[in-house]
């Protein structure tokens, strides 16, 4: 039977049902079921968040100044963006203006996080959907060296360097313990890279693994540790002392800032010479695989972030808004306070809003998070052994957020689509240049409107955004130095630190351009305590279930009409789902360092 959804997708459940559970290389827990037709083309997709931990319930009655640490633990990877959103929400509610130094330090931390998250996502969570490490053994290191030199100025480009990596890889494979590469789909024809490109990517997998440990040290300087650096309401806890008594023991002094600057510059070089060129080069081998666009071709949204001038939303360097129906000429403004705009639905989620309210949408300030686990009549298996969910009923631990009733995709691709449509010069220049390089390598002639709304476009937008962040954080750093030089060393505004200075009741909202998309926290404070707290996170937008009208979300939409080489090997499903960088830890409001995973280690 074929159904046409209100948002224009046709779903057919007739064909064979395939279940992928767990979906690996994501944060948190996720299940995906699809139906494929006789030609192995995906005709129905069902995305299920498989975990809930009840953070909103836990936050009730606590001190709003403590909330950042609770929500920071929602996720072990995008650590810090929830903390930032939380302090912004509390400061919004209490009308606290933070000092400019604190603003700049938070901006640097947010962009470091964005950069780090994007790099780790591409090389460690996503690359194996495109790159075949086993095939890299067949590469001629000279060819890899030539490829490297053709695509960028990266200094590590000699044949000997690549031969060395290849030898290490060979030993690893020969030892018979393939570890995390085990049971990969390495002979699947969906892998298209020539061996020299596979070796290039595997080499950079290792380089990125080393460098990601370096860049997070910026968080260690400003926030004391990573993951989960410290934040505070009213500013940042790291006081500045450039030259006074006991400067050496102060959180920030010249030595500390020099260290930060060095790391920021190294990050800039890495995304310029390694990350961005790699994505373009790899993409060019997949020029015929332009699937996975889904909702991004029509509806995208973001709240906007990265003010060039503190407190002036209009100076956002990645401006927000909503684009509907693929009309890039009209950008709808978004207001997270408007009760009619952002709403969450639980018709198909394992929550209840109370009797008779199954199809109601609630704005987050009035949000309710009450679990209600039940499988639909058409589900297969039992309550504790699900073989197949029933998507006509409740089927996920994620809610379904909508903007004025519209399902939207969020994430770097959404932000880049918006920025391109807004005419942001830097972004336009980046996209046009990257696409030019892609078209030259691939021998194609794709326009941004054709290339961006695809799985590849999503991966490219993320890389470009990482490099834009590297550029912006260097600017932020220079502004920080200029501000200190001008005589301002303030890092915290503690006028309203004491809860006795607060109004009896207050409500606020904080938004952040988180790595996976627009993130919002809504808080209500009463008598100095949290009365209600709701997070609407990016993967809720992308991975949420259907709404009462039957509109499907971004994950489900993106998988439709994709042909699978071998239905039992979900390479294509993983490739597209991973292009969103799903974080199911966030979307179900869970927390755990590194996701609640079961890691197994075997002793030799």
């Amino acid at each position: 039977m074929t159904i046409l959804t209100p948002n224009g997708f046709s779903l057919d459940t007739a064909g064979r049902r395939i279940v992928v559970d767990p979906v690996t290389r994501i944060e948190g827990h996720m299940r995906c079921e699809v139906n494929v037709d006789a030609n192995n083309v995906i005709r129905n997709a069902v995305s299920t968040g498989t975990m809930w931990r009840g953070l909103e319930v836990i936050l009730k009655g606590r001190d709003p100044r403590d909330a950042w640490a609770f929500v920071e633990r929602i996720c072990g990877v995008c650590t810090g963006c929830h903390a930032l959103t939380s302090v912004r929400a509390v400061e919004d509610a209490l009308q606290i203006k933070i000092p400019n130094n604190a603003f700049l330090i938070r901006e640097i931390m947010a962009k470091v996080l964005q950069w780090h998250d994007h790099v780790v996502h591409f090389y460690h969570l996503h690359a194996l959907d495109w790159v075949n490490p086993v095939n890299a053994l067949k590469a001629d290191p000279k060819a890899t060296s030539a490829l490297q030199q053709a695509i960028s100025d990266h200094s590590k480009s000699s044949p000997g360097y690549f031969r060395d990596v290849q030898n290490r890889l060979k030993k690893f494979v020969e030892s018979g313990q393939l570890g995390i590469f085990k049971n990969g789909y390495w002979d699947n024809p969906a892998y298209l890279l020539p061996p020299e490109a596979d070796l290039l990517a595997v080499t950079h997998y290792l380089e990125a693994l080393d460098f990601q440990r370096e860049i997070v040290k910026v968080h260690t300087i400003f926030g004391g540790k990573n993951p989960h650096p410290n934040y505070m309401v009213g500013g940042v806890p790291c006081a500045i002392n450039m030259e006074g008594d006991m400067s050496a023991g102060a959180p920030l002094n010249m030595e500390r800032l020099n260290f930060v600057k060095l790391k920021l510059q190294e990050a800039f070089e890495f995304s310029k010479n390694v990350y961005v060129p790699d994505v373009i080069a790899i993409a060019s081998y997949y020029k015929g695989w332009l699937y996975g666009g889904g909702l991004s071709a029509t509806n995208v949204m973001d709240y906007g972030d990265y003010e060039a001038i503190q407190g002036q939303k209009s100076t956002d360097r990645l401006p927000g808004g909503v684009i509907l129906n693929g009309n890039w000429n009209e950008i709808h403004p978004i207001d997270p306070r408007d009760p009619e705009q952002v709403q969450e639905f639980v018709t198909h989620s394992w929550y209840t809003y109370g009797a008779g309210k199954n199809d109601v949408g609630l704005h987050p300030w009035d949000g309710v998070t009450e679990p209600n686990y039940q499988l639909g009549p058409a589900a297969k298996g039992t309550k504790t052994n699900i073989e197949a969910v029933d998507e006509a009923a409740k089927y996920s631990w994620i809610k379904a957020p909508r903007w004025k009733g519209n399902a939207c995709e969020v994430g770097p691709l959404a932000r880049y689509t918006l920025a391109y449509a807004h005419g942001v010069d830097y972004v336009k220049g980046q996209v046009d240049e990257a696409l030019g390089r892609f078209n030259t390598l691939a021998g194609t002639n794709l326009t941004p409107k054709q290339a961006l709304p695809t799985t590849i476009g999503r991966t490219l937008a993320r890389a470009l955004e990482a490099h834009y962040c590297a550029e912006m954080m260097l600017t932020d750093f220079n502004n920080l130095i200029a501000n200190i030089k001008a005589g301002d060393s303030t890092t915290a505004n503690v006028e309203k630190w004491d809860p006795s200075t607060w109004p009896k009741e207050a409500k606020g909202v904080g938004t952040v351009a988180a790595p996976r998309g627009g993130l919002g926290h809504w808080i209500k404070i009463k008598d100095g305590r949290i009365e209600n707290y709701q997070c609407v996170v990016p993967t809720t937008w992308n991975g949420g279930p259907r709404d009462p009208k039957g509109n499907i979300g971004a994950f489900e939409a993106s998988l439709l009409n994709t042909p699978m080489e071998r239905p039992d090997e979900p390479v294509e499903i993983l490739r597209t789902l991973h292009s969103f960088d799903p974080c199911l830890a966030c979307s179900t409001h869970v927390l755990a360092p590194g996701g609640e995973e079961l890691a197994r280690v075997t002793v030799r």
């Binding site: 767990p22 836990i58 969570l125 049971n183 789909y185 540790k225 869970v590 079961l598």
Partner: protein
């Protein structure tokens, strides 16, 4: 790390998914029966028949029990696996339960912290592989080599504590000079961990050096022991010097309920502070 161990099942990193991923679990369990170490991050929720966390259509707790059965030992990585952590904070809506309350017949090594220091995690596992034995544990099951001292015992701001020099509010003169954060709610005096010695991310810094008090993230139930910014309470009790180790704290706390452990350990700090007429 990867050169010493084989990371066969780690659902954040591994290439395969679905059945193929689950197949690896089965293979390792058979091939290395009784000889593998199970490292658990996170913890199983028990309410709703365990279905607040589902893997392969089944409760996570089932997978945990199945894999634990033939493990040589279990490492509880982080505060979640060790104590329950934030999802177990009041009112613990999903009944998130630490590993040692679900698995009873295996040696369990707790490496708490939210998260634990990476170098400490590496230290514990390489110790086990190199010396082929479980490190000496304290009464709570933590490796003594990293958890036998409080942050406060080796804190570089300790001389300011002893001298009665405190940060009175964020970004004041004391904050810029690196004075003691006790009055800003620092939980260093009651927190057993290696942050002030090993430090974080290759020894670059640690929370107190970056200006925020310790929030006590490696202690059992730290989410429910009052605000990060609330000063450790003053109670009458027996104090502990720097030389006290976790065992003594544990003994003293036996028979005392809940948050009392933290309070006991705080006493030495408070006695000194009081002595300076500075406790309020």
């Amino acid at each position: 790390m990867l050169s010493m161990i084989s990371l066969d099942y780690d659902d954040t990193l591994m290439a395969s998914a679905g059945h193929q991923a689950e197949a690896i679990l089965d293979e390792v369990m058979t091939k290395y029966k009784g000889n593998y170490i199970l490292a658990v991050e996170g913890n199983p929720p028990l309410n709703e028949d365990g279905m607040y966390c589902i893997i392969g259509g089944k409760p996570f707790v089932d997978q945990l029990k199945k894999v634990a059965k033939d493990a040589k030992a279990i490492i509880s990585w982080g505060s979640c696996a060790s104590y329950g952590c934030v999802q177990a904070a009041r009112p613990n809506p999903t009944r998130a339960t630490p590993v040692h309350e679900v698995i009873f017949d295996k040696p369990i090594i707790k490496v708490p912290g939210c998260p634990p220091i990476a170098e400490v995690m590496t230290g514990v596992i390489t110790y086990m592989l190199t010396f082929d034995r479980i490190p000496e544990l304290d009464r709570q099951g933590r490796p003594k080599m990293f958890y036998s001292q409080r942050i406060h015992d080796k804190c570089y701001r300790r001389p300011h504590f002893d001298a009665g020099q405190y940060v009175e509010k964020f970004d004041d003169e004391g904050a810029r000079k690196g004075y003691c954060l006790y009055k800003m709610g620092c939980k260093g005096p009651t927190t057993y961990n290696a942050c002030s010695t090993v430090r974080w991310n290759d020894g670059v810094s640690f929370p107190i050096q970056a200006g925020h008090g310790c929030i006590g993230c490696s202690e059992d139930g730290f989410w429910d022991k009052g605000s990060w910014y609330a000063r450790l309470a003053d109670i009458n009790g027996k104090g502990f010097g720097v030389e006290a180790n976790a065992d003594q704290i544990g003994l003293a706390a036996a028979g005392v309920v809940g948050g009392a452990v933290a309070l006991h350990a705080a006493v030495s700090a408070l006695k000194r502070a009081q002595h300076k007429g500075d406790a309020k």
